[in-house]
């Protein structure tokens, strides 16, 4: 599908969608969003590239192999659970440190659930893309 309109649109849409997916991922704990939703949206951005250009282009944009991303995501989610274990709490208990941000009333919470959610994000993103690429390459 080498439609010029689609290709041009994708070029502008791509960064916006990816940024928005990361935005959804990061705000997820307090507002609608989260790793699952973010991952799906991120996959959409790369899937558009696979349609408008080619699977190859899309893979190049991603830079990492899908199975590596997937494994890394899973590892990250699991390791985020180990932190609780080390602190003497049950596996996957949350732990966080608060980092005050100047000009914002609430401090930023660097928490294990954030890393857990990033892991979910990566797994969902890579699996969705794996299916999309597989279908596109058929």
């Amino acid at each position: 599908m080498s439609s010029l309109i689609l290709r041009t649109a994708i070029r502008y849409l791509f960064p916006i969608i990816v940024l928005f997916s990361i935005f959804l991922l990061l705000r997820g704990h307090d507002e609608p969003g989260g790793g699952f939703i973010g991952g799906l949206l991120g996959a959409t951005a790369f899937a558009l590239f696979a349609i408008g250009y080619s699977v190859e282009t899309s893979r190049r944009m991603l830079r990492f192999e899908l199975h590596q991303l997937m494994g890394f995501g899973l590892l990250m989610a699991t390791l985020s659970g180990v932190v609780g274990l080390i602190l003497g709490e049950p596996f996957l208990s949350s732990a966080w440190i608060e980092i005050p941000i100047p000009g914002r009333p609430e401090p930023f919470k660097l928490a294990t659930y954030l890393f857990f959610d990033i892991g979910v994000y990566l797994v969902v993103l890579s699996i969705t893309l794996m299916i999309v690429y597989a279908l596109a390459e058929e």
Binding site: A43, M70, P90, L92, L135
Partner: protein, 795 residues
């Protein structure tokens, strides 16, 4: 103790990177890990020797009685020191043994995972944690045995070991849970005090049978012994480690561990003595019938495991003196065997590494080329043959003492032990003397003395066989005494002496050595006489394994043909009718009248005004559904389904569930993308169903709709405390988030989420494998058969 286990797991993760960075020093660098674990655990040696036990508890899933708890007494200390100590030398050895192998990093990762699991297994107090470590050793050993995965025999042996030990593991899990329930505790340290309760318990027999199933498969007891010699497909350091000193001893460990709790009954005593005794003799006989170095050692290991099971059984006889001897003999033989067997395996690896020859009949005269290796082999061989003053001598003396002291069955037991001792002498001579003495034989490679890392380990372990024998009380006793106490369940006082006076055991020993040497010299003749009996192997238990294996495959393909039609509509039909049938049947048992009554109270006009938006969207969804069913083109059918999907998302928004709505929108969007990808490849959109089939589908779908409606109505009318209230109240307090859905996903129920993404990844691996495993195209296969086959194997 947690630190020691975690350290090794962490090191396993880092091993591939360290391998890349450290190059030829990898073995030495990585060996520091197990060494540290050894030192951490050895710190407790004085306490344990003084009769203390140490317990450490870490929270895990307390509600399920699952804890990561550790328990250190003589038995676990002995095993933990062997695992980490021999592990250090093995890791060091393997660095040089696998020099230049590009997969060495991966090898180390699996070896260290195995080591950590094994350490966890013997240290674990909670039986569920212990079982998890137990299974991890099976899984990691699968990868280690199948290390040379390009060879079919390696893959097959790895699978065999996994299936046999894994099958036993399942039985063990059931047995351990029943044991925990019966004893009223999941902690080993408490279970071993509940012997009287357990022996009277109605579940005693099933528990014992299930535990035996787990232990006998893991420790290669007859008739499950066949997997162990096949596992020799693994690289030699692995064989030396897993299949002599650690993994195969896990079953022995568990039997000895539970001996105070489950022992002292006839079932326990006779089963262990008979199975152990048979394994001891069958293993030793099969060992002298082999010509390959590693196979000889493998069968002799089977035999040694039999001895240990035999002694565990005998520690339950009525005569207290004989029982005490058995406990002592168990501890001594365990240590002696681990030391000499690891040495001999490593020596065998070194010989094959240097000469390229595995067949012991084609080796000879290597002592001049490899003096240090020959020395290590001689030390270990002398210990195995049971010559004084080596530690193995004491092991054999105590074994014979035990059988001689037995009031019943003295004769058959002593003869069995004596014959095993005699066969051990032959095995020791085959491994430690045959390759090194006599005239030098030509081999494929020119042999040289092995590099430092490859003679250091064997030489150290070989020397220990001698040192433990020479300094029995200062060196061996601190560890032997608490081990024997743990096996017996009551504190023991152990005195060790090589010289027991001129008695029956000593005379049997002397006879075994003399006859062993004679038999070794006459082995070519004996082999010729025994050759016709080798045909018996073909009707051995391994045939049962293959019958079961092939039978399972046949059953699987039969039921696949039966159930897997390959048509999506059939799957949907079956799934939906089953759920409607099962759930509907349950609903019919309930009283649904109050729910129906609710509808009478509804006043139409206010209801419509209040729910106007929802009703409009619901109408849209209905229109979309009819459109999808009736459309004549695929494009409009998909578009109609899109209306349904977005309609549902709108309802989520109206009712205040933005997360669900976003997810639904995204899924709908992705569906469109996927559809675009496959659109051109799909066939025409004809109406293929006949009228009766359409009527049937109509009935099924209406039934499903009705069932779901009723189900939702019932669920929303349940008068129970709702868990959502708890989540809503505690979301910010405990989970630090205002988005309840997300807090549930990543905090309250994060274990579920983790499980889900694990399932996703497993499914993705399956999808990937199916897509990549397509058979090569006909043309390619014709052009280059080898390459095509190779690829198939690799992926």
């Amino acid at each position: 103790m947690l630190i020691a286990v975690l350290l090794l797991f962490a090191l396993a993760l880092a091993a591939p990177l360290i391998d890349r960075a450290a190059g030829r020093w990898t073995g030495a660098v990585l060996a520091l890990g197990p060494l540290a674990a050894f030192l951490i655990i050895a710190r407790w040696l004085p306490d344990v020797a003084a009769g203390e036990t140490i317990t450490q508890v870490h929270a895990w899933a307390d509600a399920l009685d699952i804890r990561l708890s550790f328990y250190l007494d003589g038995l676990s200390l002995m095993f933990a020191l062997l695992i980490s100590g021999i592990g250090t030398l093995i890791v060091f050895y393997a660095g040089t043994y696998l020099e230049g192998d590009p997969r060495r990093g991966r090898f180390y990762a699996w070896l260290l995972i195995f080591m950590a699991s094994m350490l966890g297994l013997v240290l674990a107090d909670n039986i569920i944690s212990m079982f998890i470590f137990w299974e991890l050793t099976s899984v990691s050993s699968y990868f280690l045995i199948g290390y040379d995965h390009h060879r079919e025999s390696a893959r097959k042996s790895a699978l065999q070991a996994m299936l046999v030990t894994g099958g036993g593991g399942l039985a063990l899990l059931a047995g351990l849970i029943m044991l925990g329930v019966a004893a009223g505790s999941m902690e080993v340290s408490q279970i071993i005090n509940e012997g009287e309760v357990l022996r009277e318990h109605a579940w005693y027999l099933p528990i014992v049978i299930l535990v035996f199933a787990g232990c006998f498969t893991k420790s290669a007891q007859f008739p499950f012994h066949f997997w162990l010699p096949n596992a020799m497909e693994a690289p030699t350091p692995v064989s030396a480690y897993l299949h002599s000193s650690t993994m195969v001893k896990a079953g022995v460990y568990l039997l000895a561990r539970l001996n105070p709790a489950l022992g002292a009954t006839d079932v326990w005593l006779y089963t262990l003595v008979i199975f152990g005794g048979v394994t001891m003799l069958v293993g030793a006989y099969l060992a002298i019938r082999q010509v390959y170095l590693k196979k000889i050692l493998a069968y002799s290991t089977v035999s040694a495991l039999g001895v240990l099971v035999f002694l565990t059984g005998l520690s339950n006889v009525d005569s207290p003196e004989a029982a005490q001897y058995a406990g002592k003999a168990f501890a001594v033989f365990l240590l002696a065997h681990a030391l000499y067997k690891a040495t001999l395996f490593l020596v065998a690896g070194t010989i094959t590494h240097e000469t390229g020859e595995k067949d012991v009949t084609k080796l000879g005269g290597l002592r001049r080329k490899m003096p240090l290796t020959a020395l290590a082999a001689a030390l270990a061989g002398a210990s195995m043959a049971g010559l004084p003053p080596f530690f193995g001598f004491l092991g054999k003396e105590l074994l014979l003492d035990t059988t001689v002291k037995n009031p019943d069955w003295m004769l058959p037991l002593t003869i069995a032990a004596g014959v095993a001792g005699f066969l051990f002498v032959i095995v020791a001579l085959l491994i430690a003397v045959k390759p090194f003495w006599g005239a030098l034989k030509e081999t494929a490679q020119h042999p040289h003395e092995a590099p430092f890392a490859m003679w250091f380990g064997p030489a150290l372990l070989g020397s220990l066989s001698l040192l433990f024998g020479l300094f029995l009380n200062p060196l061996a006793r601190p560890i032997i005494e608490p081990t024997a106490s743990a096996v017996m369940g009551v504190p023991q006082e152990v005195k060790l002496a090589l010289w027991h006076g001129i008695n029956l055991p000593l005379m049997i020993s002397v006879a075994a050595v003399v006859l062993g040497i004679l038999a070794f010299l006459g082995l070519p003749i004996i082999s010729r006489i025994l050759k016709p009996f080798d045909a018996l192997n073909r009707i051995g238990p391994e045939r049962g394994y293959y019958a079961l294996f092939n039978g399972t495959l046949k059953l699987a393909s039969f039921q696949t043909r039966l159930l897997q039609s390959g048509y999506l509509r059939v799957y949907l039909f079956i799934t939906i009718t089953m759920s409607v049938g099962l759930i509907g049947w349950q609903i019919l048992q309930l009283d649904v009248l109050p729910i129906v009554d609710q509808f009478r109270e509804i006043e139409v006009v206010p209801f419509v005004i209040e729910n106007l938006y929802t009703l409009i969207v619901a109408a849209l969804i209905l229109i979309g559904t009819f459109g999808a069913v009736h459309s004549r083109s695929r494009l409009s059918a998909i578009a109609s389904l899109g209306v349904v999907g977005y309609g549902v998302a709108l309802i989520y928004i109206i009712h205040g569930a933005p997360d669900l709505a976003i997810t639904q929108f995204l899924i709908e969007t992705l569906t469109v993308i996927l559809f675009v990808l496959v659109f051109y490849h799909l066939p025409q959109f004809p109406r293929i169903s006949s009228v009766p089939a359409r009527v049937r589908d109509l009935v099924v779908s209406v039934a499903a709709g009705v069932m779901m409606t009723v189900l939702v109505l019932i669920a929303t009318n349940l008068e129970t405390e709702k868990i959502s209230d708890y989540f809503a109240e505690n979301s910010y307090e405990l989970g630090q988030g205002r988005n309840i859905v997300n807090v549930i996903l990543v905090d309250f129920r994060s274990m579920d989420t983790l499980g889900e993404i694990v399932v996703l990844v497993i499914a993705a691996v399956g999808v990937l494998a199916l897509l990549k495993l397509k058979p090569p195209r006909e043309q390619e296969r014709k052009n280059n058969p080898h390459e095509a086959d190779g690829r198939e194997e690799a992926s």
